[in-house]
Every structure is written in structure tokens, then in C-alpha cells.
Amino acid sequence: MTAPVTAGRRYAGAALDRVEGLDKVTGRAAYAADHRPADLVHAVAVPATIARGEVVQVDVDAMLKRPGVVAAIWHGNAPRLATSDEELAVLQSRRVAYRGQYVAVVVAETPEDAREAARTLRIEYVAEEHDVILRADHPRAYRPENVNAGHPSDTGQGDPDAALAAAPVVVDEEYGTPAEHNNPMEPHATIADWHGDGLIVHEPSQNVSGLRATLASLFGMPPGHVHVVSPHVGGGFGSKAKTLPHTILAALTAKQVGRPVKLALTRRQLFVATGYRTPTVQRVRLGAEPDGRLIAITHDAVMQSSTLSEFTEQTAVPSRVMYAAPHRRTTHRVVRLDVPTPSWMRAPGECPGMFALESAMDELAIACGVDPVELRVRNEPAAGPESGLPFSSRNLVACLREGARRFGWAGRDPRPGVRRRGRTLIGTGVAASTFPALRAPSSATVRAEPGGRYTVRIAAADIGTGARTVLTQIAADALGTAPAAVTVELGDSALPPAPVAGGSMGTASWGTAVVRACEELAARLEAAGGTVPDGGLEVTADTGREVRAQERYSRHAFGAQFAEVGVDADTGETRVLRLLGVFAAGRVLNPKTARSQFIGGMTMGLSMALLEESIMDGRFGDFLNCDLAQYHIAAHADVRDVQAYWLEEEDPHLNPMGSKGIGEIGIVGTAAAIANAVHHATGVRIRELPIRLDKLVR
């Protein structure tokens, strides 16, 4: 067991301003696309205009005669790469696996010339019939070996079918979530520059260590020959965590033309090959006693992946954790279609899965005549409902109670469709949230200088989470100094290797390594009589052994989301009047940046509930609404009153900071709380997101 460092804790828990805040507000913070090496040329990726088939010929010769054009590369003249990963094997085959897949790249002296060249490049294809629409009864649906994060595809206990057949109260409904796109404000961009046999890549990345390893392997060189630079990342939400084809394309192109290459994706291109949240079709069945106590839970999820690779969200996995019931089953099925490969988007699995489960719980509350808060409290498990493991800490009930108090839930009239202010129907809803508290091995270095300054070096990423700030606070406490004496360097693959900013495990993983390095440094300084040698003193820690040896617990953050909505009785226009979340996520290390994380997640959940939907065009095989004018994300006027609170949660089984990740839990449960509030307002149950006007006006 790891005892939390409490002695000398002074700065963890303090509301420090973001350490790079002034650089960001004055426009000085450099993002990847801001980098302009000398002799730069501009590349534009050329997307396939068929959804399935082969490229026969690309008219490279005509293109090279155009003014300003430096190169045009396709399968026919591209250098070969060493990879079996079909997604990253850019220009290595004539095959087209989805519409928009990069089939060529053109390079020119100016961005205008490059864009014009890409627009007019002639490509000859042989097109084949494509299949791009997900259906739950698709004949090619199959059970994957496992789902994202290594969870088993299917689990079960008892006899849920018999239990459901005999249950006094049953909810059996189908829920759907659409394809959604991460859409960080910063589009993906790569500046690739070869020096001799080494490659420098400026790229917004959530995982510089991972990107370095992948690039080294693809181009057949030692990892030390690749340098990924990513000091600031303009949002990722999962879409900058994996190595993506455009990065390979830029590196390959720079190698071919022998000059530094800038390849900046357009917003429209972000809708194709940077990942997205798979659409899901989910069936949830709940069997309960008349008082709401669950007898059976089943959750079956169907989703899509591309023909290139299998990516399956852990959609039904939260149903293995949330509620007690003796009979249970969860399944995942996937259909491989001629579509781009889906990937991680904020709380993959938990987010769409909890929309279904928490909507079904609301339906059960109504069927049993039990208050929705009380229903969840009644089904609280004593240990992991499937794993049987003890929870390291679980305060869902406290979140529900505290949220109900703050929101003013008491005395709520459960009848739907009876509250009206003028033309507006008013309703309230609640849903629970959960997200696992994970940790991965990391390394970190800390260096002391004679003047009392310290430098922490770690290949972590700050994608807007506040990692740079929180690691500064963690180091200051572990060193017994002030944050102003500590500089944290991150976002660079030359720094000590560290895991991805993803899975809400960044701070837990990196923070452990920083604490261990600082502890060791402090011990050595003490042994040396407290004096820093002239050349400084440096210590590196690696937490591989510590993380692998951690005790077995069910580790999760929990939360409760409350929403009040107003629905225009004539038009169906829905507005979220209030959104209030209460979370239990271990120790909160910086209330200022943490509040921003929770509120940001809840805001994205609001956006998911009301606005977000990528519409697949069955005929042409691409997403129709691939820009920000047609794919709506919440704007200022959509976000009226969003409040986040948290409980003081002591959990000795997590990490030296006692913290759980908070980057994703804010989005989990929000859409269900809003859909439940819409039902309370109108009597209309929306089981398929987003909550559009046409689904309400009947």
C-alpha cells in the first residue's frame, strides 16, 4: 500500500494559475503549425474520392509542370515503409479502404500553390461497391477478441434471460448514439524535417514517446534518431493520442523532397483520418423488484470499425461496475465497414454506454415509481459487481446526495410534461458518472541547481488539462520548495519516456514518477549535507515496478450529474438551463484547473446531448457535415449555467498524490441527465442522440 504524501503538502490542492497562461493569452505559446523552419515547403494530402476500390493511375507528370509544384507522390513513386499496420502504411498500396483515405500528396513552394495542385490532381480509380452503414443486425457483426483497454468482449453471471422473464418490472429498450468527431480547436498538423539520418517532427501529440517509437519503427531507425516536439497541444480529446497517417505522410514526403515539409490538415480532413467516436446501437434490459432493486442487467452494444483495423469501444463495460444485480450479461459486437477507423474520443465506451444505462435507469425509476436518485442508491454494490474486488473508494451515493442538495432536487414532482413557463416546458433529470482510475509506468528526471532551482523533465503532454501546472505543484511539495522554484519541461520525446495523456491517467502516472524522482533527490541532497554540488544533482525514477506491483482493487471515480432543461412547446428547441455535477475523484490537486476540466467535460456532454452528430452518406461513403458550420459544437450561448463540485475523498490505494483522473468523467452521464430532463419536461423519451427538434415535435 502506498501512503499518500501528506506531510509537507502545501501546494497540491492550491488554486495556482496555469503556469503557461500568460504565454497562451499573449499568443506566444508555440503550437506545431506555428513552427517555420527555413526552406519549408507545403504539402497537401489528397483524399480518395471513392469509398472502396483501387487507384489505377495518378497524373504526376502533368502536376510537376505546374508552377511552384515541387513533388507529387502516390503509391507508384512513394518510398516503401516497414509496417504491417495498414492504417499507417500510407501510399503503400493501391487499395482504397474508405473515402478520404490519403492516396497522394502534392508539395509546392507556397500553401496556395499546394492547395491548387491538390485540387486539380487527376486520379484514375477502379471503384467497387461499398458498405458504410451500421446496423445492429448486420450479417458481418462479430464478437471481437477483446475491446478497448483490454476488457473482455463478453461477460456474464447467473441466468439473466430467466431472471428477466420472471422479473416483476422490466425495462427493455434500444438506445443509439451517432458517430461524433473530437474536433479539437487545433487541427492536426505536422512539420517534418530530416537531418542526415534523423527526423524531427513538430506535431501536436498526446503521446510523444509513443509517436517516436512508431515513427522509428516505420522508417527503420533507432528511436533516438526521431525527435518529436510538442510543447503545446491545442486540444486532443483522444484524437492526438495515436500515430495517424498524416504524420507518416509528412515524414515520407520530407524524406522524398529533401526539405522540411509542413502538412496541415484542413478542418474537413479532420473528419476522416484523425479518428472519431463510433456510432453505437445498444440494447439495455433491466429486471427489478417493484421497489427498484435490480435482479438482472444486460447491456449489448454493436459498433463499427474500418476494414483496415479493429477498434471496439468498451461501451458496455461501465455496466459491469455500476449496480448490484445477481444476474447479468454484457456483450460487444463490431462490424467492419468501408469507413474510416474510429478511435478514442473523450471517455470512449463509458460515455455512450452510460447514456444507455443511465437512460434505462431513469425509465426503471418511472416504471417502479421510485425517485431516480433513490433508485441508484438502492442498487449500490458492496464490491465490484462482476469482479468481486473491493472498491479502493466509491462515493457515488455521496455525490448523488450532495448533488441533490445543491441542485434543489428534494420535492421534485416526477410527473412528466406538467411544468410550464410561458411557452417553455421545464424538466429536471439526473444520471450517474463513472470512469476508471488507471495508472501506467512512467519515468521522470528531476535536477537541482546550486541556486535553489529545480527542473523536472518528463515526456508528458499538456493538452489543456493543466498537467504542466499540476506537476509543478506536485514537485514543489515533494521537494519542499515553492512552485516558482520549479520548471517542468514536457511535450518533447527527448525527455524521459512517459505514457499517453489519455485514459484520465496522465497525472496519476506522471505524478508518481515525479514524486519518486523528487523523493530520491531530496534523500541524496540530505545525505550530501543539503548542499547541491556545483554541477547540479540529477535523479531519474522509473515507476514500472511500483505500478505493476499495486494491489488489486476496483479503482474508479464516480459522479452525479443534474440537469434542468427548457423545451419550447411549439418548436421543440431545447436549452440546458442548469447543469450541476458533483464528483468524487480522490484528491483534487488544483481546484482552478480541475473545475475547468469538469466543466469542460460537462460542456462536451451537453454538446453531445443536443448537437453533435456526424451523418454518414450511404451513397458516397463519407460524413456529410464535415465542418464546424454543419457539425455543431456548443457555443457560448448554449452554455448558460454549468457548475462543478467535488467531495473530499481520501483513497490510500491510488498513488502518492491520492488523486483520480478527471479529464473524462465530466462528459460521462451528462447526455443521459439531459435526456432524462427532456423526458421530465415533455414526456417524450429520446433514446437516440442527439436530441433534435424533429424528435420532439410530433
Binding site: G21, L22, R28, R66, M185, E186, R267, R640
Partner: protein, 218 residues
């Protein structure tokens, strides 16, 4: 337009051998680039430039003048990350052709303040944690400076009370003198600047503070 639709139809409509431009809007190749000479003031310094007539102000700022504070979030005027000020009015620099700005004065986020001497809004954004990833932030701040100026000048918005915006029932909105900026006004006026991190409550608090203090409208 009809031609490009046909090309899309031909390619996707049936299996078989197809040829087409890489981009569905592909028409015949455009004529060769044309350059134009002009003079432009950016953050108080005059520059004599020869620009490509296809060049956006955003690209001129970023690629030619090295001012990378303004960001390219969509290049289509849909996100607001490229917002700068021209003579104090906010514009989307990605939709503004530089060739149209001869003799004009542009202010970017770099011109508002420095890390050691920030503009009141820049300081308020840090204090209220009105940013996370920071990518939309330069556009948010330039837009906020414009909003404060618009309110000070009395320019009504969609949510300005009708009696105020249309005194005496006038058909067109009327500029009547400084307007108060309540939360609804700020949200409405800032809705052209998207923030995917969801920093809107902090942004609102930062702008409201600057508005109360009477700072920041320049």
C-alpha cells in the same frame, strides 16, 4: 458547380473504372498566381508587402510576418480562432484577403500585451482560467476587445432589449450610446468564437470583469 456534382455522382454512383479530380469541386486549373503590392500596419508597424491575391490575412500574418498568435482552426470563418482587429473592429482574418487591406491597421493578440505587461483582458483570462488548451484564446481575446468596444459605442446585438435597440419602434437598430454588457449579451456576442475545451464560464467571467472595470475596449 453542376460539373463537380456530376463528377461526384459518376465516381460514387456505380462501381467500375472512374477518373476524376482529387477534390470534388475540381474545375479546370486556375490562372497563374498574381501578386499585388500594398502597405499595411500591423501592431503599429508598417510593412510594404507583395502578396499573392489568393492570400488570406491569416496566412500573411502567420507565414509572412511570423505573427502566429492568430490561429487557423477551420480556415472557413466557422470557429473564430483567427479573429483579429482592423481599426478596432473584429474580423475573421481567414476570410479577409490581404490584398483588400492596403493602408489598413491590424491589431493581433501580440499587439495587445506582452507576458510581462498583459492587456487587462489577457490578465483576466489567466485569473479566471478562461482557457485550457489555449488555441482559441487569441481569437477569444481579440473578439472580447471588439465586444467591449462595440458595447461602448452602443452597437446593439440580437439579444439587446428591443426598446433599446429600436427606440420608438424604428425598423433598423439604432446606436444610442454605451450599452451595458450583461451575461446574456456577452454570451451572444462571443458565440462566434468556439472553445472545444468548454472554457466558456471562465471566458464570461473574465470579460464581465473587464467590462465592470471599464477596461479593455482597445
Amino acid at each position: 458547380m453542376r460539373e463537380s456534382w456530376d463528377s461526384r455522382e459518376r465516381i460514387a454512383g456505380r462501381a467500375g473504372r472512374v477518373t476524376g479530380q482529387a477534390n470534388t469541386s475540381g474545375d479546370a486549373a486556375a490562372p497563374p498566381p498574381v501578386g499585388a503590392d500594398l502597405r499595411i500596419s500591423v501592431n503599429g508597424a508598417w510593412h510594404a508587402l507583395t502578396v499573392d491575391t489568393r492570400e488570406s490575412l491569416l496566412d500573411t500574418l502567420r507565414d509572412r510576418l511570423g505573427l502566429t498568435g492568430a490561429k487557423k482552426g477551420c480556415d472557413h470563418g466557422q470557429c473564430g480562432a483567427c479573429t483579429v482587429l482592423i481599426d478596432g473592429r473584429r474580423v475573421l482574418s481567414c476570410l479577409t484577403l490581404t490584398v483588400s487591406l492596403d493602408d489598413e491597421s491590424v491589431t493581433t493578440v501580440e499587439g495587445l500585451g506582452l507576458p510581462g505587461a498583459p492587456h487587462p483582458l489577457q490578465r483576466a483570462f489567466v485569473e479566471h482560467d478562461a482557457l485550457q488548451c489555449g488555441f482559441c484564446t487569441p481569437g477569444q481575446i481579440c473578439s472580447a476587445v471588439g465586444v467591449l468596444a462595440e458595447a461602448a459605442e452602443g452597437r446593439p446585438s440580437l439579444v439587446t432589449h428591443r426598446d433599446r435597440a429600436h427606440p420608438g419602434g424604428s425598423a433598423e437598430p439604432v446606436i444610442t450610446g454605451a450599452l451595458p454588457l450583461d451575461e446574456e449579451e456577452i454570451r451572444e456576442r462571443m458565440s462566434g468564437n468556439l472553445c472545444r475545451c468548454g472554457a466558456y464560464p471562465g471566458i464570461l467571467a473574465a470579460i464581465a470583469e473587464a467590462a465592470r472595470a471599464g477596461e479593455g475596449a482597445r
